[in-house]
């Protein structure tokens, strides 16, 4: 698969396992996301899709297998060892934080900081993590808020915004760190049906700008139109993967067919 070293995939998973106690949530995930690709992950709840997404930026620690982001092993460093050849070393918290800076994440329940204005939410990490000046961070934050259509809401607190507006601020907040990869964890599942469109529009724009995105979603329309690849997960494994149209219109696997009949 990864024959040309020049095009290292943005995300590469090989046999990823994750258990919570006795519950095995991921049972050997293999997939790869190319640069600039939009991959949508669908599947019934409890299929492990959100857990996989959280493993990508090390919010969850995997138990077996390997996971790379942009060629770097997630959560570990490989070092040569006298007897065993290669050995894994856990990364220090500072190094984990450093890697996460390049990976934006958008949550189902937005998780905006309620004690800060929309502008404050967007400028916080660039100021505290990247050490940007207040002026530079604010200028860029206003730009990003304009990009998600919320230029006039900079001074509003999250509880003064609708769900759709909050999620768009959350996207601007993630973009402020200039990530090379964006993870979306069911970004529209907590929204009123009317408000889903405005968030998907922002995501569509982001995809068109060439951002690499992994999107866990139930929006089959979005997956079909915007996605470059579609992965169907169930029971902690990838059941079927391929170009969205192909998977949606002529699913090969019986489980995929059953799922699509239910959601379409």
């Amino acid at each position: 698969m990864m024959s040309e070293p020049a095009s290292v995939p943005m995300v590469l998973a090989e046999g990823v396992h994750k258990s919570f106690g006795k519950l095995e949530v991921l049972r050997g995930i293999d997939l790869s996301v190319r640069r600039g690709e939009v991959m949508c992950i669908v599947g019934p709840s409890g299929s492990g899709k959100s857990t996989f997404l959280r493993c990508v930026n090390h919010l969850e620690r995997i138990n077996a297998g390997r996971l790379w982001v942009d060629g770097d092993l997630v959560g570990y460093r490989q070092k040569a060892h006298r007897r065993t050849g290669l050995r894994l070393h856990e990364l220090r918290p500072a190094e984990i934080a450093r890697r996460r800076q390049d990976i934006g994440m958008v949550f189902q329940r937005f998780n905006l900081f309620p004690h800060m204005t929309a502008l404050g939410n967007v400028t916080e990490a660039p100021q505290r993590v990247l050490g940007e000046s207040k002026k530079d961070a604010a200028a860029r934050a206003r730009e990003l808020l304009a990009r998600v259509g919320l230029a006039d809401k900079a001074d509003a607190y999250p509880n003064q915004l609708s769900g759709g507006q909050q999620q768009r601020v959350a996207i601007a907040r993630a973009l402020a760190m200039r990530p090379k990869l964006m993870l979306f964890d069911e970004p529209t599942s907590a929204l009123d049906p009317e408000l889903v469109g405005e968030v998907l529009d922002v995501m569509r724009g982001l995809a068109e700008s060439g951002m690499t995105m992994v999107v866990v979603t139930h929006e089959m329309g979005f997956a079909r139109e915007v996605g470059d690849a579609l992965v169907f997960m169930d029971g902690g494994v990838v059941v079927e993967a391929g170009p969205p149209r192909q998977v949606i219109e002529s699913p090969q696997h019986e489980r995929t067919q059953r799922f699509l009949r239910a959601v379409l």
Binding site: M105, F107, V129, P158, N159
Partner: protein
């Protein structure tokens, strides 16, 4: 805007008014609460009886109360009580935050030390601890800093380093820090887990997350019980006589009372000062809570004056 009446044949409203009259600003008569006024009257009478009884009872010796209420020794002692309260609480809050964060740390050494601290300082009476700090000079006459088991570099007289005021302050602060730690821990745990996740997904380090994201949100939960602790501390300062330190309000008024053989009026003097200081602290707490409610409620709490005005009418009283 209200012009729906013009449409021919549109039906009247259910209560028979012509169509269109129901549209517009509602100017309803608010629900009256006559019971509240009756209760106020009853309480006023009872209060008047109480005041009358106290004023006419010669044993209260209001003249003496008046003489000593603004006596310089008393007002100075009140200031000393306030100083002890504020300093002890400042130390306790800072130390409490540190211990709470330690207690929640994944590092077993830090959380173990924090647990041990709580066990000792919450598990023994503050009076005992105050006596101990008063005796520390006897237990360790000299305090030295140097190489462990080796030579001393600096050596100090303990009684010089820890005088009565210092002993009282340390005793109160260390004990209070244990309680503050639990209050802060409760506040930290009340903050949604998603907040920390969102912040770490942005690449923030745990210390920054605690300082910028978690603690500011925890403040809303931390402040009310902390106000309680401040007021409790104001009164606990009367125990520092155990050190012994006797320049604060309670000891001072008691000393005067013993000298002039009149305990009641000086108790009243002390009570009036404690009540006054508590009232001032309560107002401070109210405005602090209003400040930290920012972003968490759409309706900012009314100021004290606005609340008082709303007493007699409307549903605004809310139980």
């Amino acid at each position: 805007m209200t012009d729906t009446a013009g449409q021919g044949g549109s039906p009247a409203t259910p209560d028979g008014l012509p169509p269109g009259t129901s549209v517009g600003q509602i100017t309803a008569v608010p629900v009256r609460h006559p019971g509240r006024w009756v209760a106020i009257a009853v309480l006023a009478v009872l209060g008047a009886m109480l005041v009358h009884g106290a004023v006419t009872n010669r044993e209260f010796r209001w003249g003496t109360v008046g003489t000593y209420l603004f006596d310089e020794r008393v007002s100075r002692a009140a200031l000393e009580t306030l100083r002890l309260t504020v300093l002890a609480m400042l130390v306790a809050v800072v130390l409490g935050v540190v211990i709470a964060v330690m207690r929640l740390s994944p590092n077993p050494i830090l959380s173990g030390v924090a647990w041990l601290y709580l066990w000792v300082f919450r598990g023994t009476p503050v009076y005992t601890q105050l006596v101990f700090w008063g005796l520390v000079g006897v237990l360790y006459p000299r305090i030295g800093f140097g190489i462990p088991f080796g030579p001393q570099l600096v050596e100090l007289d303990t009684s010089e380093l820890i005088g009565p005021f210092m002993a009282a302050l340390i005793g109160l602060a260390l004990n209070e820090a244990a309680y503050m730690a639990e209050i802060v821990r409760g506040g930290i745990l009340s903050v949604d887990e998603g907040q920390g996740e969102a912040a770490s997904a942005l690449g923030m380090r745990s210390r920054t997350i605690m300082r910028r994201i978690v603690l500011p949100q925890a403040m809303r939960v931390i402040i009310p019980p902390t106000g309680n602790e401040v007021i409790s501390m104001l009164k606990t300062t009367s125990l520092v006589v155990a050190v012994p330190y006797s320049l604060e309000l309670y000891s001072r008024t008691r000393d005067i009372a013993v000298r002039i053989f009149q305990p009641v009026p000086l108790l009243i003097v002390a009570a009036i000062w404690y009540l006054t200081m508590t009232s001032v602290l309560m107002v401070g707490q109210f405005y602090l809570e209003r400040h930290f409610a920012r972003g968490s409620t759409r309706n900012v709490a009314p100021t004290l004056l606005q609340r008082f005005r709303g007493l007699g009418q409307g549903g605004g009283g809310g139980a």
